[in-house]
Structure formats: structure tokens, C-alpha cells
Symmetry: C2
């Protein structure tokens, strides 16, 4: 059942009519912060500058009961095959479970498997970090290159940048694009004697990843491949054939999707960058929000409150987009990560019954860093004709004792933007008038440390999941990427062989001809 | 007069009703490519996979006549004060004029001023590149740090990355954010003995820029400031007080807006990176499209055709966004540049008569690099409920002779995505069905060289301008950024002095308290 089929939905629509033209500031009764702000182990969530109130939350709680949301949540955690189009369980939460409770997939408890894999990762990362792993000339490893694209890059890259104060001496690079320009930039930065490459590809056949890996493989004599390449893949045979030692092949599982895989061996660049103990803390922080999500009643459940805002903006106000603005360079890759997480998961049109939906699903997610974004597109956020719910994210602790003024200015700007968007300011000169009533959410970290960052990412994962339940779609497949891949292979072969088939339209032929010139 | 007030608009609306549900492929008659593709000096524009046809173009040409678009274009080029809310001319085109024709601003011909300034830039950049400019210990300059934000960063940074094959030995860095994390990252990369800082701030008082500049100023003894700092600013007195030598102050002019300023001294990091001759070629390429724009009849006018697509998607289909996907790492910063150019220019709600518009203006612009984006948000583009017009941009020439396979795969992917978006593919399994009819534009460079890149950027500038004429708004002010700045100053002072005023709402107070803890 989707949200529109519930009895509560018409009540929500009616109630929405009565509040949609209110000024946001009118929502601020004395108790507003009590039910719209949350303090979760060092992260503060402020949802108060949004179009919600107690009544609307209660209505959504009723809606959640109607669609049996609690059961859907338990089904995910317990390993039911909720990715039904691919007949797979969805168990990124199992990867961070701190409990001994069994989780059964295909009649087998996966918890021991996860623990055993983590031990292997711990040994491997320690060996590299401590300098026991040597390159072909006997030198210690100084640089790690993670070769992977999509989920095999975006999460780990975001986290490794965010946790810079926790980093060891290893330089971590990410190679993803098939564009040789990226490989060229990378090659200026690394020394092949002291670089370890990690090929992250479940199938060991992602075109971008394998093409890049093979280009790099050529640099080394075949006897030395095992000293410079490891892999995260299910394809043991292909990996061995490539020259990788069997003990340096880390597993992937079909119950972890790419965009949820940073907690798995696919995120191995994270413990390499910050050490295994810190990686464990990241997992622990995620587990804490998992527990909160699973056990807290909806009206105090942080991912739940955040997810109903998605429905309010996407399906009642009918805004197409939302924007994420981290006011810290540490989280500069967060918007890219969230683009994949939310858009690849919920950019779908077919419901669980196989029918085309008659409502809007996945929002368009975009963003950029603050304060820079203020000098770029904030003009439109304040005075444009389109409304965009904004997510502000900041860190209270100043990492650098010598820059307290800058840090205070940075966060003052963030808070001021949220205030300005909501309250606006009347001016008789219409060009200088600010209408206000533009909603935003603010998330403040005490400090960006592994535990807290783990909690934040898991929070976004649960929002993604909840949206999919409301919209009655499968958030865990991605068939929409297949057609382009197939046509790319065809166009590549035809242009290479200088033989354009008649199946293409005139525009495609025109472009292919340019490619052949 | 805005587009809606024209007689032609109702005809356009009627005609739109008759074509909006057509399959895109049905538009392909034998002559389609003749009027939807353009070859401009080494850049190919393919608009054919969009909802336009000959009739619709003709209608928009009529509309353009009704609103006297030709006159609006001439007014810009001739220096009329079309930025009427600030009483300023808009003359970024004058900066690249290769003609001797006078352009008069406030009774003065500005062309000699531009030439004289360019000579000064040429001398200065040569001195630095040739190693005649020495730091305080007598060493040559190796690193340039451009301190600037918004328009003082986004254009130059994008171009310097795009023209990497034209770069000399100088390392160019961009420092923009007030976040100390960015300064910290920078400081790991530079040596203060061999670094030259360029402060780019018209007012010499942009908070981010000046705060960063002052932090860096402290590193040097005051007698050495002049050897390590130059500036682009109108505020000569403030710059001299900072310690900058008068001959190292480069001018800015109020007839060049920040987001159009890369052609001016604000773009000085470009000739430093690629040499003045290449910078001249960039200007020349822009001038070539200026001439095309100014002199070509509308139905063959490339920026005109592109701009009517904005109106079709924004005001007829009512899509909120458009996305830019460069299939080359060289243009990885293009989406950020375009976000500012388009959204800061046209994210406005008040028309030229001072009234609130009753139609949509500025689109939301977002994007990311291909093929990476295919593994991230392309799922939504293919199968989501929201339609997003896509702009693909690629480079035909392979910069690296050794990577021809990769390069061909990269461009095959780009062309395949455009084909897949338009044509879709039927599948009885609804989850694997692609509806198609998703429009896109493809721009192919023979090669990303200075001339061609100059043409491309000027093309986007003219689209921005044309949108503003259709929507009857001033594209050249940005009052929408002021309220946030003002409130940030207030919040900064109050939190610093631990004294929160009662003017703030409870949410803002809550966040300010966290900041004070």
C-alpha cells in the first residue's frame, strides 16, 4: 500500500490546506522545540523551521500504522528479501550490528561471516599502515589508490575527507572515471614502488574500474602484481587470473547494495586511512542510530520525522528538489554521496505491484559547500520563484585553535541563512524584499568524529528506506542504469569498427560520425 | 514586456499542446539536423533531441520581435545601463572586443582603458612566469593562490582546470571559503617563500576573502608583503594600507559583474596559468560568439535556440531543473560555474516594472561529471517521475595518445546516454521498462582549447542574458544575498559577546546557544 491509498492521506491533504499558507514563524508556539529538535549523542537535529506541527506528525504516525511501517522496518533488519525484484535481502545494517543476535540469509547466520571478514580487514590494514606490506622494491606503502565507481567510491571518499584529523600517513586516492584525464592527474601524484591499488568491483567487470585497473596492471612485471593489487569482489577466479593473491581478495555480498556498501569491505579505504579502531567507531555510531530507528516510537524517531518532510515537500508542496549545504569543507563530498544514495534508490516509477505510480517519487538532490554557495546560487534560494528545502550541516568544534574567528563566522553564516530564509525581510523596494517562508533543517555536530559521522550516514540511509516505503517502490535495485550501458557497448563497437548500424536515430548517427572523424 | 504579455505566447501555448505528448523521435524528419545542429568554429551543438521544431522556432522568433529582443541585445553591447537597479552598464563583452569601435560609459570610451589594463596584466604575468618576480628570500614564484569567492573563483578555477594541457610550471590554488579547513589543506601544499597571493575583491572587504588574506598576511614580515601580495580591487587606499605596492593593484569596473568577470583582471589567475597569449585566445573565442550572437538572425542564432529551450522546459513543461554533465574531467568545475551564472543571474521574482512575476523564472542548475554520474543519479533521469533536460558536453580529441580505448568508451557512453534517454526501450517487465522522451542537448568540442572554451563560456553568458529578457527581470544584480550577510554579522557579534538579542526566533536562539557552549 502506498501513502495515497491510506485513509489518513485525505486527512493529511485537508490539514495541509489549512497550514500551507501560514508563515513559518507562526508555527513557533512555546513547545515547538520540544518536538522538532533532537539531541542524539553529540548530533543536534533542528526540524523546527519546516512545515510540520504536532498534528501533522500525529497524522503521519497514523499513516505509518496504516501501511504497517513497523513491520517493514523489522523486515529489513531481519533480512527478509525486500529487494524483491532481485530476490535479495538488504542488510547493510547487519554489517554494523553490535549485537550477537543471529541474522539468517538463505538458512545461514551471516554474523560470523561479517566478524571473520572484519578480522581479515583488521589484519590487512594493520600490515599496510605499520609498513610491513612492501612493494616490489622492498619499500613501504605510502599511497593507496581505490579503483571503483559509484558506491565503490562516493561513500569512502566522503568519509576519508571528513575524518582528516583522524588520518594516518597514508595518502588515499580515488580513481573512478574512465576518462584518461583522471588517470593522468593521479599518475602525477603517486610512485609505483610505494602504491597499493584496491580494485573494488563486485563483478570484477565494471568497465570503468577494470579498464583503469588493467592500464595500471601493465606498469608492473607480472610477478609483482600481487604486491601492488588487492581486490574487493565476489569473482575470485577472475581476480586470481589478474594476478591477485587469493588471501588478498575481500568478499562482497549480494545483500549489500553498492550505495550502502561503505560499511563492508568495499569501504576498505576507510580503515586504511583512519585505522581499524576508528572504522569500528564509525560502525558503532551507525548501529546506535539503527537501534534508535528500530526502537523509538515514530513521533520521536529522527529518521521518521525527516522522512515525512520528504513527503510533505515532494507530494504536497510538489517541490522537485532539495539541497544539502555542509558548512564545513570536511563534508564537501556529502552532496555527491547523497545524490547517489537518494536518487539512485528512489528515482523509480513502478510500485511494488508492478504498476506505474500516479504520484511523485525520488527528489532531485543537489548542493554545494557553504559559505561558497552563498556567493553562488543562494540568490535563487532567497528570491527565486522556486522553493527549495535546504539542509544545513555544521560542526561546532573548531579543529584549529588558531582560527576561532573564522570558525565562528562560518557557523554564524549558516545560522543566519536559515533565519533569513524563514523570516525574510520586508522592503518597500521590491527588488530588496525577502518573502521568507523558505524551509530548512539544521544538523549540528558537536564534532565530526567517526561515531557521529556513522550515525549521520545511517540516518540518511534510513530516510532513503522510509521514502521507498511511503512511495511503495523498491529502493534497492537500479535497472535504470542498464539501457545506457548496453547502448554504450554497441556505440563503442560500431564506431571502433567504423560501421554505424541503422538502428540509431539521425542525431545519434551524427554524433557517432563526429567520433569517427 | 515579458514573454507572457506577447500576442505570440498564446499561439506558442496552443502549438505546445499539440506537440507535448509526441515521442521525441517523431520530430526527426529529413531536415531536422539542418536546423537543430550547428557547427561553430570547432564546437558542434546538437539540439535535435529536444521538444522543438521549425514551427516552434518561428513562433519564438516572432515573440522575440514582439519584445524587441534585437534592441535589448544592442543595448547590452553598446553599454546602456541595463542593470537598472544598480544604474550600471553590463559590458563583459567589451573586455573581449577585438574591434576598435568605441564603447562609451559615462561619457568615456572604455576600450583604451581595457587595452591598457591588458598590457599591464601581460607584463605582470610574464614577470611571474619567467621567474623575474622574486619572493622575500630571492626565490622564484612557484605557486599562486587566488583568494576570492563566488565570481572571483568559479570562472577562473574552471578554466584553469579545463586548460591543463596549456599550463606552465606554476601551481595555481584557489582559496575561497572562510572555513579554516580549506586554509589548512592549502597550507600543506605551499611554501611561503615562493608563493604569490592574489586578493580578488572589488570592495577589498568581502569577509571571506579579507579574513583569509589577513591570516596569510601575518605569516610575512611587513616589509615583505609587497613581494607576496597583489590585488584586483577598486579600493586602492585599502590595498596600499594592506601593504600592496600601488603598481600591483589591478582595476575592476562596476560595468562587469562578478559572475561575468573572468575576462577582466579578476581572471588574472588564468593568464598566470596558461600565459597571456593563450588568455588572449580565450578572449578571442568569446568575441567570435559575441559577433555570432549579435549579428545572426534568430533562427540560426545558437544562444537564441538554446535560450528558447529554457522557456519551453521552464514555462511550458514546468520542469524545475536542468543538469549539466561534462564527459571530461577537464570540465569538472563547469557545473559549479553554471550554477552561479544562471541561478544568481535569474533567480529573481520582480520584473522590470517592480512587480512580482506570475510565472517561473531561473531554473535550478546542477550536475556532475560523466561517466561517474551514470553510477550515481542517472537511475532517476531514466526511470524517475521527474524529467530533467540534460546537457552533455564532450571533447572529441583524445589528449593522451596511449588511452584511445578509454577515450572512445567515454564518448560512446555520453552518446549512448542521450540516445537511451530519448528512445527508451519497451520491456514487459515494468521494472526494466524505459519510457524515453527525455530531452537532451549535446555539445562536442573538437578540442578544449582556449578559443573554443572562450566561445562556450560566452554562449552560456548569452543564454543567461536572453532568459532574463524573456522573463523581464534584471539578470545583473543580486540583492538576494544581502539579508543573509547582514544577519550573519549580527549573529556573529551576539554569539561572540554571549548576548543573544530578542529579535531572533526560538530556533535561531537554540542554534546560537549551541554555538556559545
Amino acid at each position: 500500500m502506498n501513502f495515497k491509498q491510506t485513509k489518513t492521506w485525505s486527512q493529511i491533504q485537508d490539514y495541509f490546506q489549512s497550514i500551507k499558507d501560514k508563515n513559518l514563524i507562526e508555527f513557533f508556539d512555546k513547545k515547538r522545540l520540544d518536538y522538532t529538535t533532537f539531541d542524539f549523542n553529540g548530533i543536534y537535529f533542528d526540524f523546527s523551521k519546516n512545515y510540520i506541527d504536532k498534528k501533522l506528525i500525529d497524522l503521519f504516525v497514523s499513516l505509518a500504522e496504516e501501511i504497517d511501517l513497523s513491520r517493514a522496518i523489522e523486515e529489513m533488519f531481519q533480512g527478509k528479501k525486500i529487494n524483491f525484484t532481485e530476490n535479495r535481502a538488504v542488510l547493510h545494517t547487519a554489517l554494523r550490528s553490535q549485537s550477537a543476535t543471529e541474522i539468517i540469509v538463505d538458512n545461514k547466520n551471516i554474523i560470523p561471516l561479517i566478524h571473520q571478514t572484519n578480522k581479515k580487514i583488521k589484519r590487512f590494514t594493520k600490515k599496510v599502515i605499520d609498513g610491513q606490506w612492501k612493494g616490489f622494491t622492498g619499500k613501504k606503502i605510502t599511497d593507496i589508490v581505490n579503483i571503483g565507481i559509484g558506491g565503490s567510491e562516493l561513500g569512502p571518499k566522503m568519509i576519508v575527507r571528513a575524518l582528516k584529523p583522524y588520518r594516518n600517513h597514508l595518502n588515499i586516492h580515488y580513481l573512478s572515471n574512465i576518462d584518461p584525464n583522471q588517470l593522468d592527474e593521479l599518475s602525477e601524484k603517486i610512485d609505483i614502488e610505494t602504491t597499493l591499488f584496491i580494485i573494488v568491483s563486485k563483478s570484477f567487470s565494471t568497465i570503468e574500474t577494470l579498464t583503469n585497473a588493467k592500464s595500471l596492471q601493465k606498469i608492473y612485471h607480472k610477478n609483482f602484481i600481487a604486491k601492488h593489487f588487492v581486490t574487493v569482489s565476489t569473482q575470485v577466479e577472475k581476480a586470481v587470473e589478474f594476478g591477485i593473491a587469493p588471501e588478498n581478495i575481500f568478499p562482497m555480498w549480494d545483500w549489500v547494495g553498492g550505495r550502502f556498501s561503505l560499511w563492508s569491505p568495499a569501504g576498505i579505504s576507510i580503515p586504511l586511512a583512519i585505522g581499524f579502531d576508528n572504522f569500528q567507531k564509525l560502525l558503532k555510531g551507525a548501529y546506535q542510530i539503527d537501534e534508535h530507528f528500530r526502537k523509538t516510537k515514530f513521533k520521536e524517531n529522527i529518521p521518521f520525522i525527516a522522512s515525512i518532510l520528504s513527503i510533505i515537500y515532494n507530494n504536497l508542496f510538489e517541490f522537485e528538489t532539495e539541497t544539502y549545504i555542509p558548512y564545513t569543507e570536511k563534508l564537501k563530498y556529502l552532496p555527491d554521496f547523497l545524490q547517489q544514495l537518494l536518487m539512485e534508490s528512489n528515482g523509480k516509477s513502478i510500485d511494488k505491484q508492478g504498476d506505474k505510480v500516479n504520484y511523485q517519487t525520488g527528489q532531485i538532490v543537489w548542493g554545494n559547500i557553504g559559505t561558497n554557495a552563498q556567493h553562488s546560487f543562494f540568490q535563487l534560494l532567497h528570491q527565486g520563484t522556486k522553493k527549495v528545502p535546504v539542509h544545513f550541516i555544521g560542526e561546532l568544534k573548531n579543529t584549529y585553535t588558531s582560527f576561532s574567528t573564522q570558525h565562528l563566522m562560518l557557523l554564524s553564516n549558516m545560522i543566519a541563512q536559515a533565519e533569513a530564509l524563514m523570516k525574510g525581510e520586508k522592503n518597500e523596494n521590491h527588488y530588496k524584499n525577502f518573502e521568507g517562508n523558505r524551509p530548512s533543517t539544521t544538523i549540528l555536530f558537536d564534532e565530526i568524529k567517526p561515531e557521529y559521522l556513522g550515525s549521520l550516514i545511517a540516518y540518511f540511509e534510513h530516510i532513503t528506506f522510509l521514502q521507498g516505503i511511503f512511495w511503495d517502490i523498491n529502493s534497492f535495485d537500479q535497472f535504470g542504469v542498464e539501457l545506457g550501458k548496453k547502448l554504450a557497448q554497441k556505440i563503442y563497437s560500431e564506431t571502433k569498427e567504423m560501421n554505424i548500424s541503422n538502428t540509431h536515430d539521425p542525431s545519434t548517427k551524427f554524433l557517432m560520425k563526429k567520433l569517427m572523424e
